[in-house]
Symmetry: C2
Subunit: 281 residues, 2 copies
């Protein structure tokens, strides 16, 4: 028996809320803005507590609830959990706790991988917490038990992206080491199970070779959210103006601005810094 849900009127004119442990979720914002150019987006990056990917389930759930509560206070009509780790551990808890549509990145990525794989051998690279959750294997194998899923935790990839070493021999060497066990298993599809990894697409492609297809969970998520909001009759429709992107962060804004453009692909609006009050779940 779950607790009574707070009532929240969802209306198609309201913005979509998107949160992530930090700035990586802007790769999801980028794809949603591309798929739904007329929607207003509110983004929260929990940059004071980033990363989530090395932390425990209970802590990730607590942080994700605080993030979602903040977005609700901004009056959003739906929430997208852009962070793979938070999607893996907290999505079910959030959906129980909050009375509005909440979408994660795991199911869209899993579906896209299933649609692409021919030999039914799928690789997943992600943070240690996401791998530990087994969210991707479970989501994939629920839909097709004949598929084999091989997951690899890659804790060094986020720091390498944030250091800007995307085209660097060290990154190549790290990728060779992380991908070797997956390639030995002859996966034909590789899910990029972390918001930072789309920035490593070309070195990953080089190391994985031409026979492995990459699944960008950010792109899959955007299509998924568009279809889901359409079914729920929650799309803003073809407004004459382009949608806005309003960013919030929990740490200082300078660092955000420097990195945001790389993830977003175009200049971000100046974010506001906020504090998230603790909240009992």
């Amino acid at each position: 028996v779950s607790a009574p849900k707070p009532v929240q009127t969802a209306r198609s004119e309201l913005p979509i809320g998107i949160f992530d442990s930090g700035i990586g979720g802007l790769t999801v914002v980028r794809q949603i803005h591309k798929a739904l150019p007329h929607e207003d987006l509110v983004y929260l990056g929990d940059t004071a507590r980033v990363p989530y990917g090395t932390k425990s389930p209970a802590t990730v759930i607590r942080f994700a609830c605080e993030d979602t509560a903040f977005l609700l206070r901004q009056g959003v009509k739906a929430v997208v959990v852009a962070c793979n780790t938070a999607s893996a551990w907290a999505l079910a808890a959030l959906q129980r706790e909050f009375a509005l549509p909440i979408f994660g990145v795991i199911e869209p990525g899993a579906r896209a991988a299933l649609a692409q794989s021919r030999n039914r051998r799928i690789g997943v690279i992600a943070t240690p917490a996401t791998v530990r959750s087994r969210a991707y294997p479970e989501c994939i194998r629920t839909r097709d038990p004949r598929v084999r899923v091989f997951a690899q935790a890659c804790p060094l990839l986020v720091p390498l992206v944030e250091e800007g070493w995307v085209r660097h021999s060290v990154t190549q060497a790290v990728l060779r080491e992380y991908l070797a066990p997956l390639l030995r298993q002859r996966v034909d599809t590789l899910v990029l199970g972390c918001t930072h990894y789309p920035l490593l697409k070309s070195p990953i492609r080089e190391v994985a070779g031409p026979h492995v297809q990459l699944v960008d969970s950010a792109a899959s998520c955007a299509t998924y959210v568009r279809d889901a909001l359409q079914k729920l009759d929650l799309l803003a429709g073809d407004r004459p103006r382009r949608g806005t992107i309003r960013p919030y962060v929990t740490d200082e804004i300078d660092r955000f601005q420097t990195m945001a453009n790389r993830f977003l692909g175009f200049p971000a609006e100046r974010p506001r810094q906020v504090e998230l009050p603790p909240r009992s779940v």
Copy 2:
């Protein structure tokens, strides 16, 4: 004019409090336990919000105040800020805010480097936040303005240590890249300005070569704390029993236990998980 200080009776029989952003501070615990084997130690690792080294001054100060307030509630006689980033940004604020002796790792490391360098060219490797603070250069050059200090931010080293890639060609390559500008400046002394770096001593020694002396700020800090407590008449004295080490963490305890032994050098007591209430400074 500073605010009135809360009164806190410090007594020699009480434990010493030590905090860090995560588990790296156990390298400082290890050295203090070695230098002061009869002292009881209380350790707090803020593992839910680790790392501090990539975050902003204001956020680091806020976290450090919450950490110190927690240790005070455990009835400690003094506080050691084992985290270089927190020492760099928050030490002065903590000393203003709390009425008990508070020591950081920067000054001990700076003094040790000054004592060792012959050519007055000192290198410092640290987190981006510590480098940005300019705490080491300022502390060193206040004592001897003839010295030149060259600082290098090394954001990949902490993740490499946590991944366990201490003896790994990738770590060698990363170190070569980070240390090259310092070696070009012909530093004869290199400060390991982050609690994680003592674990990389041997690969650093290999890359830096035999003419560069390493300063372990954890070891320097232990000597410094011993001398300071002695002057303050706050040493526990030669009790018949060995001191205890009581660890607390803010994230789950499993991960702590796995990593703790590596940093501490011997098995750690099972930690307790705590929540740190927010606190206005």
